[in-house]
């Protein structure tokens, strides 16, 4: 939880700003539709100096700069894609909270699918397949002590 992150932060002597959800009144665009787009884009972009926070959540100065930048580009009439591309061109893929699919992230994106297929194969195999041995051989043989215990339990039940 955040709690442990904080501990970690205090142990490592890192300063974190946890006063989250940082959009300030002055930043908000008058055009509601544009502002909604800005918020959606902001949630996808990482605050580069924070740990795992989007620029929408972080009140670090750099995050504020990026929020303002996103809104300026949107006001200039750019598409969402173009705004994101512009920021990625400046800061690299690291800024994307959802990494793009490329040769380095193939494994990341494929793992859920591979896991689903693999697990389904392994577990579904156990369905419908008759047991390898007859039902009689399946039952575990009881030791003498266990037989005794079973008898006493059965007696107790009666």
């Amino acid at each position: 939880m955040r709690f442990v992150t904080l501990l970690l932060a205090s142990i490592l002597g890192l300063g974190f700003a946890f006063d989250a959800r940082a959009v300030e009144p002055g930043e908000i665009l008058p055009d509601a539709a544009l502002e909604t787009r800005a918020r959606t884009i902001s949630a996808e972009l990482r605050c580069l100096v924070c740990q795992n926070q989007s620029i929408d959540d972080s009140n670090a100065p750099l995050a504020k700069d990026l929020r303002v930048l996103v809104r300026e580009r949107l006001k200039a009439g750019e598409s969402d894609r173009a705004v994101i591309d512009y920021i990625v061109a400046r800061y690299g893929d690291f800024v994307l909270l959802k990494p793009p699919l490329n040769s380095h992230t193939l494994l990341l994106w494929l793992t859920p699918l591979l896991c689903l297929v693999g697990l389904s194969y392994v577990l579904v195999r156990s369905i419908g397949k008759p047991a390898t041995r007859g039902a009689g051989a399946q039952a575990e043989k009881l030791t003498k002590a266990e037989e005794e215990k079973l008898r006493s339990l059965l007696k107790l039940d009666r």
Partner: protein
């Protein structure tokens, strides 16, 4: 003096654990009952010694003994007593001591209440449990000793991060650890079973209560952390897909899968291998969570490389237990015979689907959490994996799970009838469809998928109730007969109903608050008014006050709705003395339709204050759902049949149990 006693007790506990790891296991291998029986005494002694060590540290915190380094670094004499005590586990060393205390507590519980376990199984379980204690006691003594003294004690301590001085957070770590560590029982039972070379339905029945108890603690522990984040962090976020959150979520997902697969094993002797593997993996994920959080590897690969001592130690422990467990599994798995066959449409089939989806979800969270670390370590390239990735991969796995959920308990073992089940779920289907229509008609904004999410939540809740209604023949038998059936329902069935209903409730809460959040961020001057979600808020002004160890500045907001007074909220900003740090305290008004959430921001040059107002619809369903899951677990745990080795009292009862 007391602290030295504690230090000594911990070292003794290590010695006892070494004994407990070796002697009973040897006794089991040569079938010597007296050697096996030593495990019980050793487990109890080990718990007693670690309790002494822990209490001596608690004492040092309570009396503010700043000659102890750990106390000086993490406590302060002006802190309220409850936070002095919670400060014990609010730091690395103390939290590891709590970890081994809980580990020893579980071991002692098996020693005390496991009289019905076969002696060799009990001896081996306790021996495996002791081996974990040996690893972690060594870790504490060698790298993270909380009992170190200072030659020149400071006059006061450095204090605890004020954001952590909170009741929910005081008890969040103990529950979380009880969950993590509780899964060690499943692990120990799995390893013991592999060593013995046999498992059966009885084994699953012995393991299930421990797993259930651990799962309950983890559920409530995660919920507490999320609840804390919601009201403390200042905008109502309750889940961030933060790596540290994921570290606790992965064992929860695997543990949930384990609970369900152990059910199949107990009732039908199927899925044996898978259940044992899950038991090993669930605890491995708990260890990994400990490693991720304790090593510093999360903040950056470099932080880990700078001070690798602790990290390498925990990593070795993790590799040793995971690797050892899996190697043993590979060696002995072939000896375990699989049980009965079943048709795809059956209770077993449903539980298999549950396991496929939960395990895949767990693997998804795992890869998303570790991939950036691995990629950076291998190529030096830095990427980010955050909430958008998890929302895109995790949620599609949850949807089919939740849609299938109501069917599961309605299907018979071995071969179920989907048409009958669907017939019983007709009402639930209608309610879900109605929800979908209403949500589409009513909600113009929000995510277009959200109505489906709401409908799924309603479907799960209504479906769960339908299943209960069918069980007690509601409407088909007389009211007395239904009531009698309800009272006589096995507690485990009732627990399932409660927990599944909680899942549905949580789904509604998560979807509603994520998709239909209202917000209003603006600058207000005293005397001005604003509106959000039907409420009118009048900002009266700012007042200053002093708390025990902070000063605060709070705004006064008079809330009305349609002209009628609702409440007055006082969101505030606090500045703590030691360490000097600001925090934000939200002003929250809760109602059945959601929370009005107000946050006071910074003063503006024009004399106004920036103010953030949010309305979180149905947000409390999230934690209410978690509480229901916890209660469901508790009710199920109280079932006679689950209690360790408890024989059925009446054969009639046993027959109904077998028939269901």
């Amino acid at each position: 003096m007391i602290i030295e006693l504690g230090h000594f007790a911990l070292i003794l506990a290590l010695a006892v654990a070494v004994f407990q790891m070796l002697v009973p296991a040897y006794g089991a291998s040569i079938a010597n009952r007296r050697l096996m029986a030593t495990a019980t005494t050793a487990a109890l002694a080990q718990f007693g010694l670690i309790a002494i060590a822990f209490l001596s540290l608690v004492h040092a915190y309570v009396v503010s003994d700043f000659s102890v380094l750990n106390v000086a670094q993490n406590s302060h004499s002006t802190k309220p007593l409850i936070y002095k005590i919670s400060g014990v586990w609010g730091n690395h060393e103390g939290s590891m001591l709590l970890w081994v205390l809980i580990l020893a507590l579980f071991g002692a519980a098996v020693a005390a209440f496991g009289a019905n376990l076969p002696p060799s199984l009990k001896a081996r379980v306790l021996a495996v449990q002791a081996s974990i204690a040996v690893a972690f006691c060594s870790f504490i003594i060698l790298t993270s000793n909380p009992f170190l003294r200072l030659a020149n004690p400071p006059s006061d301590g450095r204090g605890l991060n004020p954001i952590l001085q909170d009741p929910a957070l005081a008890f969040h770590p103990p529950f979380l650890y009880a969950g993590y560590v509780g899964f060690s029982m499943a692990f120990s039972f799995a390893i013991a079973a592999l060593i013995e070379g046999r498992t059966n339905a009885a084994w699953a029945r012995w393991v299930r209560p421990w797993t259930l108890a651990a799962w309950m603690c983890l559920t409530i522990g995660i919920a507490m952390g999320s609840w804390w984040a919601y009201y403390e962090l200042g905008w109502g976020g309750w889940w961030f897909w933060d790596p540290v959150e994921n570290a606790s979520f992965m064992p929860w997902l695997a543990g949930t899968a384990l609970l369900h697969s152990a059910l199949v094993m107990e009732k039908r002797e199927s899925l044996k291998l898978w259940t044992i593997l899950l038991a090993i993996l669930t605890f491995s994920l708990s260890l990994m969570g400990t490693f991720l959080v304790r090593s510093g590897v999360l903040s950056s690969v470099h932080a880990f490389a700078v001070d690798p001592e602790r990290g390498i130690f925990v990593l070795s422990i993790m590799v040793m237990f995971t690797g050892g467990g899996l190697a043993l599994f590979a060696l002995r798995a072939a000896d375990l015979r699989q049980g009965g066959a079943f048709a795809p449409i059956s209770r077993e089939g449903g539980l298999v689907l549950n396991n496929i989806l939960l395990s895949t979800a767990c693997a998804t969270v795992l890869i998303g959490t570790l991939y950036p670390l691995a990629l950076e370590a291998v190529t030096g390239e830095k990427i980010s994996v955050g909430a958008p990735f998890f929302n895109l991969t995790f949620l599609p796995l949850m949807a089919p799970l939740l849609i299938a959920l109501p069917f599961g308990p309605l299907l018979a073992w071995k071969r179920g009838d989907i048409a009958t089940a669907a017939q019983l779920l007709k009402v639930a289907g209608v309610l879900a469809a109605a929800t979908l229509v209403v949500a589409f008609a009513y909600g113009q904004k929000g995510i277009w998928l959200a109505p489906f999410g709401l409908a799924i939540g309603v479907w799960v809740m209504a479906g769960t109730i339908s299943e209960l209604a069918a069980r007690i023949k509601l409407g088909r038998a007389s009211r007395e007969e239904s009531l009698r059936r309800l009272v006589n329902l096995p507690r485990s069935a009732l627990g399932t109903t409660l927990a599944h209903f909680g899942v549905g409730l949580m789904t509604v809460g998560v979807v509603a608050t994520s998709a239909y959040l209202n917000e209003n961020i603006l600058v207000l001057k005293p005397g001005e008014k604003t509106e959000i979600a039907g409420y009118t808020l009048a900002f009266k002004g700012i007042s200053r006050a002093k708390g025990p160890n902070y000063v605060e500045q709070s705004g006064e907001f008079i809330v009305t709705r349609d002209g009628a007074a609702v409440t007055t909220l006082f969101p505030s900003k606090r500045l703590y003395d030691s360490p000097p740090q600001p925090t934000t305290e939200a002003g929250i008004h809760a109602s059945w339709r959601g929370d009005l959430y107000t946050v006071l921001g910074d003063p503006q040059p024009d004399g106004g204050f920036s103010v953030r107002l949010y309305f979180h619809p149905f947000v409390r369903f999230i934690w209410l759902g978690a509480v229901l899951m916890f209660l469901g677990g508790a009710v199920s745990l109280s079932d006679r049949r689950l209690r360790v080795g408890a024989p059925s009292r009446a054969s009639g009862k046993a027959a109904t149990a077998a028939a269901e």
